[in-house]
Amino acid sequence: MPYRYLDDLTVADVAFEARGTTLVELFTTAWQASLQVMIENPTDIAGAESRSIALEEPNLDLLLHNFLQELIYYKDAEGLLLRIEECRIHWREADGEPAKLRARAAGQTIDPKIHHLGTDVKAVTFYNFSLVRDDRGWKATVVLDV
């Protein structure tokens, strides 16, 4: 599993560590971990509806934060559970330019008959939030307010 939940980091909320060899893999995995909190069977989300996401942020960790936040937004605003179909991230450490993301997500409206509901995610917090590169690739630590 490219993500694992961290039981010691929070009592009332949900914390996880996500990994990816690339930034795209990391971002996609972090959303899978968030989605898994809200429904127990995310693989049963049909791809009937499609949404595009375009973000530009001054740094990478804000890009991840707002990417997750954007997907949570669709859950409330349109009742949509989305899975990432395509994602491109442009970021170069040296050039000082903003980090950019373009993604296409597909999914369907929440249906308790199909989706086994878990716990609603209210927000992505900054508590212990981090995105770092190590010898195994990229690693993010995220605490979700539920």
Binding site: D7, T10, A12, Y73, A77, A123
Partner: protein, 484 residues
């Protein structure tokens, strides 16, 4: 476990000195007996100490007996800031702005309700959407939603979802002033405008409860609050401002991070403690947007009460007021409000942040409904779905904490650990065997809310009483539960 240097003030009050962490402006004060103190996770003390370092804090950084670690402030955290020199911080309020509790009386006894309990819970479950992304039945335009955010429960009164008494018996009469919908993003509106009348999930619930004679702890105050007959049935529910409040907190948290250090020179110790001076443009904008979420949440709980009245009326074939469905009180436990308090002999306007903490005004204080003025403000402390909840009253000795008390029983077990230990289906059956009929949108969510995942509510409430923060009036035990 409390850190070294934590000093015992008395049996129910502990102090962490300013020397604990660099930058602390005031000490931390924790209301707890030794057992509750030892059970608190270490992050509680760190977080309360970070709060103590925020500019303009007055008195102490407080933690209530139900405290546990959160993000930014601990849950159960309270801090007062000078309204001129202090800051406002979304992390001191929480993402679920005006998450709160409402308690509603009935004139029915448990003997009268018992034959209908399954039907009642089933109908309530169907009428009040719960769970992930739940949508309400109200069809509102975005502009109407912006109006209700400024008007609060006055909007409900106009639309026929409330009676005047409901407003009178709600903190801030269900309409906090200084709410300006122009300070709210379109995104926040999009997240919230279809969620009026919904419970949400996590620890949000709607319970049918009974006030058993042996659980009436103060007969006179109970009668003053409308609990005056044997085995009286009441309804309690817990929910907040849904996606609307979550988005406002998210929007402003990020905005504050951009200016906190660069514009206002406030060091960022924890990004969840992002803040801005209260009098600054950014601080005032957040305050006005946050007040919209406070009002939206009051409306949310009011529409839920309206649905409850419809369900009871339909099942018992009587007007809801003939069934005694009168609101006892509605309290918020995630807010920042300007209040006037005496501190060190001086009257001061203070911005009181309560995050998982409840206002508990003493008898005679302004802001309490006139029928309760002599009794003190009703305080509602929700427990787990297995163990029961409490109605309390504010007391004069609450002055020590700017009239603030606990809000719940407080988690001690992580959600995943609870899911490993309990199965939702087993829990549902066990509760039914105990006489608690439950309907939940999520078995996984149900397991997370098992009684054993929480502190002992009796101990928390007794601590608030022993510490002089609030007076227990009635313990209410659940017989039916709709769980988000």
């Amino acid at each position: 476990m409390a850190p070294a240097g934590c000093k015992k003030i008395n049996e129910y009050l502990w102090e962490i000195p300013r020397s604990f962490k660099q930058g602390m402006q005031v000490p931390v004060r924790i209301y707890a007996g030794k057992q509750l103190l030892d059970a608190m996770d270490p992050a509680v003390f760190e977080q309360a100490a970070n709060v103590a370092a925020l500019p303009g804090i007055v008195g102490y950084s407080y933690c209530m007996p139900d405290g546990h670690s959160g993000y930014g402030f601990p849950i159960g955290g309270m801090a007062a800031f000078d309204s001129e020199k202090g800051v406002i911080s979304p992390g001191g309020i929480g993402f679920d702005i005006n998450c709160g509790m409402r308690l509603v009386a009935t004139s029915l006894s448990w003997e009268e309700v018992k034959p209908q309990i399954q039907l009642l819970v089933d109908r309530l479950f169907n009428s009040i959407p719960a769970g992930v992304g739940g949508k309400g039945s109200l069809q509102l335009s975005r502009s109407e939603f912006r109006t209700l955010c400024e008007k609060g429960m006055k909007w409900c009164l106009k639309k026929g979802f409330a009676i005047q008494e409901d407003l009178d018996r709600t903190e801030e009469t269900g309409c906090i002033k200084d709410a300006d919908a122009s300070k709210v993003s379109e995104k926040a509106v999009e997240r919230g405008y279809r969620q009026i009348g919904t419970l949400g999930s996590g620890n949000h619930y709607l319970e049918i409860q009974v006030a058993r004679p042996e659980n009436i702890l103060d007969r006179e105050l109970a009668a003053a609050f409308g609990i005056d007959r044997p085995n009286q049935v009441v309804l309690m529910f817990h929910c907040g401002s849904r996606g609307f409040g979550h988005q406002i907190a998210t929007d402003y948290l990020q905005g504050f991070l951009r200016v906190m250090q660069s514009k206002y020179g406030i060091p960022i110790r924890d990004r969840e403690l992002a803040c801005a001076p209260f009098t600054s443009e950014e601080g005032q904008d957040y305050f006005k947007a946050m007040n919209c979420a406070i009002n939206m949440s009051f409306v949310n709980r009011q529409v839920i009460l309206h649905r409850i009245r419809e369900v009871f009326s339909e099942i018992f074939r009587k007007d809801p007021l003939d069934l005694g469905l009168h609101q006892i009180y509605d309290v918020t436990h995630n807010t920042a409000k300007v209040e006037r308090h005496t501190w060190e002999g001086k009257q001061r306007n203070l911005l009181i942040h309560r995050k998982g903490a409840t206002r508990a005004f003493a008898p005679g204080m302004k802001g309490i409904p006139k029928e309760y003025r002599a009794a003190g403000q009703p305080v509602i402390i929700g427990g787990s779905m297995e163990t029961g909840s409490y109605l309390l009253a504010g007391v004069e000795s609450g002055r020590q904490s700017f009239f603030t008390t606990a809000h719940g029983s407080g988690r001690t077990m992580g959600r995943r650990q609870a899911k490993k230990q309990f199965r939702g289906q087993d829990l549902e059956k066990r509760l039914r065997d105990q006489g608690i009929y439950i309907r939940s949108a999520s078995y996984a969510g149900l397991a997370e809310e098992a009684g054993a995942a929480y502190k002992d509510i009796d101990q928390v409430v007794q601590t608030t009483a022993a510490a002089g923060l609030s007076r227990p009036v009635v313990k209410l035990v659940p017989v039916g539960n709709v769980k988000g």
